[in-house]
Amino acid sequence: MTATLVLKDVARHFGGVPAVDGVSIEVPAGQITGLIGPNGAGKTTVVNLITGLLHLTSGKVLLDGQDVSREEAPALARAGVARTFQNIRLVPDASVLDNVVAGFHRHEKAGLWANLLGLPSARAEASDLKRRAMELLDRFEMTALADHRAGSLSYGHQRRIEMMRALATKPRLLLLDEPVAGMNDTEAESLAGIFRKVAAEGVAVLLIEHNMRFVMSLCSHLYVLASGRLIAEGEPTAVGRDPKVVEAYLGA
């Protein structure tokens, strides 16, 4: 069985300068795969290439064995690729609940006219989506904040909203771009539990992180990126001892 996401020799150049070069990664379903590397290694570029926000210079991206290298971002999202953003990106004036409901977009069935005119089918769907969003809020322990403006909440809460929105899309592949940056260990640990459960439900999770302890505790397989190239991969503790990895991080 092939992995949900396969990157084959992927490269992306910006005006001749390679940001990502010759990267091959496999993200199997039901597991959390880690992608680490120092600042500027090209981690977010990889995420943007997978989600179709950037296009490949060369190489291939396979989703469930299908070549999606040339697909546009909305098509990939509809195919079940979801992500969170390193710099939080919400609708700050909308409520927490509405921000999460936006994640259900690809599952909405009510027609355009029903939605434009507020016909019963649109109303029924809206209340159903609200109920499902509340279930997510419950899971992330944010029920009490449902009606608050997303922009008025703390950093940690805003990160959770991003994650709920990504999960609302019911993804096959979930890309988490530094999901616990700026959080303390307790907050990070409570999210780790949620990530494990998501993976256990059969979702392929790619975790991009800086926090080594967090990555070590969660991932079954680790890739290390430095200056746009993979310098190591394998089982987390072994990768952590790899001299090349230590050098990249210490800049020795």
């Binding site: 953003f85 009510a110 939605n115 009490a144 009606d147 800086h210 210490l250």
Partner: protein
């Protein structure tokens, strides 16, 4: 009371017509489309209705519907190329449309009477009819804003990258917003012609474009109430302060600057936001503690790096 109403009746009509134009502007801004086309579509609606009544002898109701549809059809045609553009390019393209429509109304004399405008239009759009139309449009826009379309527009306005990452097709919703905007502008223009006896090209020029835009910025662009509040304030201010009539544009400009600096979200949006925050504080005093802004830094590379070293 009735006396007051009759004294200011033309002002009410004016407010109602401009409320439609402001709502036309609101729909595009809410979806993140920087369209300035409202004045152009309003001119099409007004001239379409006025000429059908005076030259072709159409019944006024049918002419108003036709004028509105003219706004719909022309915006639908323009929506195709326009949804491929973004930001300032959309603004320039729609500005060009306004210029083209204005040139036509001024120079296609055989059809439009040129700068003299169209006269002798029967006044059929009474205050009651205008009010009914505005109420219906407000109800429709509230419905539109509440469900899937409004939500998708909000996401697109705030962040197109997020929108595409959620599978939302940006050009599709830009087109919807633009067509609804064109329809509403046509619907604002047609009754304008049929409530004021005469129209001239000047009415639909730069000043209308700026007025519609100012109303939405002043009122707020995330709810339909912003457009209404903006229309009421900007239309009635010059009438209530006639002493300043000569300085009308100056006062308008100062007002706009003050709002942009101190209430960047607009009068209505700011008020609604404050009301909501207060209601939430009352409902859940506990939650307020949780909401206190956390001191968490956006990202601390030094700390992250340190952690990484510590565990290698």
């Amino acid at each position: 009371m009735m006396n007051f109403f009759f004294t200011y009746q033309s002002l009410f009509d004016h407010i109602l017509v401009y409320a439609l134009l402001a709502m036309s502007q609101y729909v595009v801004l809410r979806a993140g489309v920087f369209s300035l086309g409202t004045a152009g579509f309003a001119a099409l609606g007004a001239y379409g209705a006025a000429l059908l009544i005076t030259k072709s002898g159409w019944p006024p109701a049918a002419a108003i519907v036709a004028g509105t549809l003219l706004g719909t059809v022309s915006s639908a045609l323009l929506a195709l190329p326009l949804s491929r553009l973004r930001g300032v390019f959309q603004a320039v393209a729609t500005l060009a449309l306004v210029q083209i429509v204005l040139s036509a109304t001024q120079n296609w004399v055989s059809l439009t009477n040129g700068a003299l405008g169209v006269n002798g239009i029967p006044k059929v759009a009474s205050t009651g009819i205008l009010l009914t139309v505005v109420v219906v449009v407000v109800l429709l826009l509230v419905a539109m804003g509440r469900y899937s379309v409004g939500r998708a527009m909000d996401v697109i306005r705030e962040d197109e990258t997020v929108a595409v990452s959620l599978g939302i097709s940006v050009p599709y919703y830009h087109r919807i917003a633009f067509i609804v905007s064109g329809t509403l502008a046509g619907l604002g223009g047609a009754p304008q012609a049929t409530s004021s006896y005469a129209i001239t090209p000047n009415e639909f020029g730069f000043s209308m474009l700026v007025a519609a835009l100012t109303m939405v910025v002043l009122g707020g662009r995330t709810t339909v109430w912003g457009a209404l509040v903006g229309a009421v304030i900007l239309t009635s201010l010059p009438e209530l302060f006639r002493v300043f009539a000569d300085y009308r544009n100056v006062v308008q400009g100062i007002l706009l600057m003050l709002v942009i600096v101190y209430l960047p979200r607009g009068v209505a949006d700011t008020l609604l936001g404050l009301l909501r925050d207060r209601r939430l504080r009352r409902a859940a005093p506990l939650a307020a503690v949780v909401v206190a802004p956390a001191a968490a830094p956006a990202k601390d590379p030094v700390r992250a790096n340190f952690e990484a070293r510590a565990h290698l």
